[in-house]
């Protein structure tokens, strides 16, 4: 082999490998995106870092006592070999000892997670108020009752039922600071298609602009008005009338029935 052959041979190999690498690189970008309906086990690093750290051994899958984790197969639109679960099929039961994290031989499932209530697998959202029967005024509350962090992650807010005019609606409300995204609510939803879903947090959670201040909170923190003293509002009302803030509106300042009944009768 002379020098020319060697250089040309190496170049040819390098070009071939380069093409292969390009193909693999492009494919890996495509193949490393997680669909929103697939959730990672508790403690999983954020998706990009998870795809680098996970060695696809399936120890988390095997150590899950509820067998709700799976390894992605080649034909699934999930990075091949990585663990996932589908909330609608079976949510995470939130074991206190977190066996899946303990089993992980890398930090793909972050071993710093020791309290399962700090897990962040996603965030629940009542995604369809038209379908959810609680919004129709019916009593359901299944998602609320099955929530492992009931009253923290999901609360029921009472609202007036405007349709009947005399009943209450028990509206499920998710609280993002407590929800772990375990998916039990979506699994348990009684509808044919769940009206409460667990999705990756970044897809659904809003965030107030950093510069934004809520006046009443600032006022409460400061213990008073921050710009100028609040002026007492003066109403310019007809004589004998006052404004009732509880919803009555403009009313007479006096008692409805004066002591002399004739006064009422003679009123213009």
């Amino acid at each position: 082999m002379n020098r020319r052959d060697f250089v040309l041979g190496s170049l040819r190999t390098a070009a071939g490998v380069g093409l292969l690498g390009l193909g693999l690189g492009l494919y890996s970008r495509q193949a490393s995106s997680l669909p929103a309906w697939a959730l990672r086990p508790p403690g999983a690093l954020d998706e990009d870092r998870f795809n680098g750290a996970c060695i696809r051994c399936g120890l988390c899958v095997r150590d899950c006592p509820f067998e709700m984790l799976h390894l992605a197969r080649l034909e699934q639109p999930i990075p091949t070999g990585t663990p996932y679960f589908i909330a609608r099929d079976a949510g995470c039961e939130m074991c206190e000892d977190i066996p899946c994290v303990v089993a992980c031989p890398t930090n793909a499932l972050d071993h710093a997670l020791t309290d399962i209530n700090d897990a962040d697998m996603g965030l629940a959202i009542v995604s369809d108020q038209e379908a959810c029967i609680a919004f129709q005024g019916l009593r359901c509350e299944v998602c609320y009752n099955i929530c492992p962090l009931r009253d923290d992650a999901i609360t029921l807010d009472l609202e007036q039922n405007l349709r009947s005019g005399k009943h209450a609606r028990f509206i499920p409300v998710v609280h993002s600071e407590h929800c772990t995204g375990c998916g039990k609510c979506e699994e348990a939803c009684i509808l044919d298609e769940a009206a409460i879903k667990v999705l990756p947090r970044h897809l659904i959670q809003g965030e107030l602009g950093k510069h934004y201040r809520l006046g009443w909170e600032q006022q409460q923190q400061a213990g008073g008005a921050l710009v100028a003293p609040d002026a007492e509002h003066r109403y310019n009302l007809p004589e004998g009338m006052r404004y009732e803030h509880g919803g009555e509106g403009l009313i007479e300042d006096s008692t409805p029935f004066p002591s002399n009944p004739l006064d009422t009768l003679n009123k213009p």
Binding site: L24, S28, N51, G52, C54, C57, G58, G81, P105, N107
Partner: protein
Amino acid sequence: MHDYPGQSATAEQGWLKAHKWLILRRTSQLGLLGLFLLGPIAGIWLVTGNLSASMTLDALPLTDPLLLAQSMLSGSLPVMSGLIGALIVLAFYALVGGRVFCSWVCPVNLVTDFAAELRRRWAIRASGRLSRQLRWWLLGLVLLFPLATGLMAWELVNPVTMMHRGLVFGGLWGMGLAWLVIAAVFLYDLFLVRRGWCRHLCPVGAFYGLIGAGAQIRVTAARREHCDDCMDCFEICPEPQVIKPALKGASLGLGPVIRSQDCTNCGRCIDVCSKDVFRFRLGRGSAVLPAAPASETAAVTAAIRRSSSRQSNRSGNPPISRSSNRSIHLTHSNAGNSANASTNATH
């Protein structure tokens, strides 16, 4: 005169003797697979996980060091159990031979061995030419990806882990399209390039070869003077280039031990040889015979360079500096192993 390699060995020494290491090897491959399948099929969980990382009897962690390396290169800190597991695996293969993984453990070997066997039976001679160095380039690529992109890109397509994971986690009918990848490897080996996957491309094998560069269990052509040039060992060997210096290097002053890291320690050469030329031995032996006087060292070096010019460089240096490196290495081992070599001569 031969219909297939090992024919005369079978005729002279019996079928069992001519397939001893093959049977042991298949037992090992299928037995390990069986151990992993015992859990999902029979509910007996001796081993969980797969070849990427496993836990045996809740006590012995084993981790694929190549995968852990990729994981760490992506910027993730390892966990103690994973690290210990990788060190155990590293130590084991460093001792018994890195590519023992390929021939005794890897499930893809069943497929590629089958392809090679069919190739022989159907007399498919045509084979595409492919550099055996490709696997080193690919290994570089595999390690570069997590470093550069933070993604373990290789694991998206790796047939080795894909096959084992598919079998253990899905069973024969549950591994999905991973079958296509395995079938592709099979057809590629069968029709396109002889031993194309394991010998030319597989970066996993290249990595394990690297681990086992100094392995202590080796095949030696101890009775090479009895060789009758039937070529059966070359025919059956998955890495035939490793045999030549050991078997035919006596006149060049080369030792009888197969020292190449490419050797998979599969033992098939031992099986098929009717003259019992080969056997396993402990220790690496020396590269050259003690009889070679110091003045001939240069000639010996040149001979090695010729006979194993394709041998991959251990140190990872660019190929252009390989020959000079090797000669330095040889003169060292010459001096260091002279005592060792004299015991060799008795074999």
